[in-house]
Amino acid sequence: MKASALAFMALAWGVILIWMYLAVGKLLKAEQKS
């Protein structure tokens, strides 16, 4: 796989995975607290 394709894929996947981890994780934590 070409490096440019891999870079774009990794960037898009990375942004989404981190965002999902933070948003869903924080939501579940907040729910547990309340």
């Binding site: 070409k2 394709a5 774009f8 894929m9 989404i16 995975l17 579940l28």
Partner: protein, 529 residues
């Protein structure tokens, strides 16, 4: 005020909202659009549209829904009326209520009218894959055409899907929809992950230069020259479509929240789950698998990829029956969890506006979808579905999105909106997001709407020109047909749309008048919580 049903758990709500957003388009439309408009480079306009348009409108719809729910409404007519009267007199606010109610009713009845058929096709193809019905067929196109022409068979799989939807909706929000999505959504993710694993392990089964990894490269290789204005607007359209915005269904689900429940972080979490399903899972299944077996030409089939090209692949793949069944089951789950939200919108409308019991309401909506769906099933060319989709599935959504912002932010007043967004919120949205919501998101929607209108005018869609009819006959018809037939179908489609718009505007007015009649008479706000 009578107690409305509420989501039992936050997890149930988020899964329901994610299920609402994750639809068939995540798995077939996104990869096709990305490959067409610049590969990896498509992600630039895609993420820009997501942050400047998708997330703001998602927040607006959550806020609108929870606000309407506080007054006991899960439909857009009364909700828009209540929000608009913050700036204008009740007799003017009722006009916005009628527009919102009209558009949401039309989308949830007509769009689901044909969407449910596609859900039915997915159920049928799950069965055909599991039983190996199309394995060894000389042409998967002929197999599909034969299936579409067999109306009783089409209606059986339609009825199974819609019947199950009716049962789930009839059981209520917390005891029905929430329980169903708590099973279906994890199953959807598991099915998608299994297919991604299969896609990654395919190797080069046909030619050394064709492999699923080459398919990933085809999808992600950035082609900046393909990122035009058209690509930017296609990205914005995809964001609108994938997040299920402009349909009234996010508001409907949010109306079952408590008045102090978080919407800011929940909206963000819903979008993230949708993007995971679309970009990561959706981008890793159809195109890489098709590329490994059919090469670069085979993946250009557009939406035909799902029902025409992939069965061809499953025929030749080791374990094809199992993975074919898994693929169509995935599509069925994705379609089902979106269709259930549209179904619930209409049942809520009957329940709240006409005081019809939920179970009976559910049966009435089943009958309504049958009436709307029958002409679609009987049209073997699929042109009725195509023309309805042009207007309802692509155009009316954006119009409603624009009114979402006009009413939910501008008429409700930006400071009220900001306060509502932060009521009970688990996060503080930065101040710099405010101008995006106030100015940039509506501008985005206006440009998108302007471009759609311009295109529809130029290609004769609005005027039903000969050029448009020839386009339908030559490019969209499933089987060969004539422009005379296309004209008849297009007239039928437009007549149905206009009729439904008129009926739904009247219904929205009656619903508002029933509860806020005194306000309309005196032209002043009386009921305020």
């Amino acid at each position: 005020m009578e107690q409305r049903d509420r989501w039992a758990t936050k997890l149930g709500l988020i899964l329901a909202m994610a299920g609402n957003a994750i639809g068939l388009g995540n798995f077939w439309r996104f990869p096709y659009q990305a490959a067409k408009y610049g590969g990896g480079a498509f992600m630039i306009p895609y993420f820009v549209a997501l942050f400047l348009l998708g997330i703001p409108v998602m927040w607006i719809e959550w806020v609108e829904g929870r606000y309407g729910g506080k007054y006991g409404h899960g439909t857009l007519g009364p909700t828009f009326y209540l929000m608009a009267r913050e700036s204008v007199k009740p007799r003017t606010a009722v006009i916005f209520g009628m527009i919102g109610g009209m558009l949401a009713f039309s989308v949830t009845s007509l769009l689901n009218g044909y969407y449910l058929h596609i859900v039915g096709w997915s159920a049928a193809y799950t069965y055909f894959s599991a039983t190996g019905a199309y394995m060894g067929a000389s042409s998967t196109y002929d197999f599909f055409v034969n299936y579409i022409q067999n109306t009783p068979q089409v209606l059986v799989f339609w009825a199974i899907s819609v019947g199950l939807l009716g049962i789930a909706v009839g059981q209520g929000v917390s005891k029905g929809i929430e329980r169903w999505v708590k099973v279906m959504m994890p199953a959807l993710y598991v099915a998608a992950i299994l297919l991604v694993i299969r896609s990654l392990t395919l190797g080069s089964p046909v030619k050394p230069e064709w492999s699923s990894i080459k398919g990933f490269e085809y999808l992600w290789e950035p082609r900046f020259s393909d990122v035009s204005w058209e690509a930017a607007l296609a990205a914005a359209g995809q964001i609108f479509f994938t997040l299920s915005l402009g349909m009234g269904i996010i508001q409907n689900y949010a109306s079952y929240l408590g008045p102090e429940d978080d919407v800011a972080l929940s909206g963000l979490a819903t979008v993230s789950l949708n993007e995971f399903a679309e970009v990561i899972l959706g981008g890793s299944i159809a195109i890489p698998i098709a590329f490994a077996y059919l090469g670069p030409e085979g993946v250009k089939a557009g939406v035909g990829l799902a029902y025409l090209a992939l069965p061809n692949v499953f025929m030749n793949m080791p374990g094809g029956q199992l993975f074919g069944a898994l693929w169509f089951l995935l599509l069925w789950f994705a379609g089902f969890t979106s269709a259930i939200a549209m179904y619930n919108y209409l049942v809520a409308l009957l329940e709240e506006d006409l005081k019809i019991n939920r179970k009976i309401g559910s049966a009435i909506i089943f009958a309504l979808y049958f009436i709307i769906g029958l002409p679609i099933a009987l049209d073997k060319t699929l042109l009725l579905l195509t023309d309805l989709d042009m207007w309802v599935g692509s155009y009316l959504l954006v119009v409603l999105g624009l009114f979402d912002i006009i009413v939910g932010v501008w008429l409700f007043k930006p400071e009220n909106f900001w306060e509502e967004l932060h009521r009970g919120a688990y996060i503080k949205v930065p101040e710099w997001v405010k101008p995006i919501i106030k100015y940039i998101a509506p501008l985005y929607v206006l440009i998108l709407l302007g471009k759609n209108t311009w295109d529809y005018f130029n290609n004769g869609t609005i005027t039903m020109s000969q050029k448009y009819l020839e386009y339908l006959v030559n490019n969209e018809a499933l089987i060969s047909t004539t422009t005379e037939y296309a004209r008849k179908i297009v007239i039928e489609s437009r007549a149905v749309i206009i009729l439904v718009l008129i009926i739904s505007a009247i219904e929205a007015y009656m619903a508002i008048k029933k509860k806020y009649g005194e306000e309309l008479e005196k032209n002043e706000v009386i009921i305020k919580l």
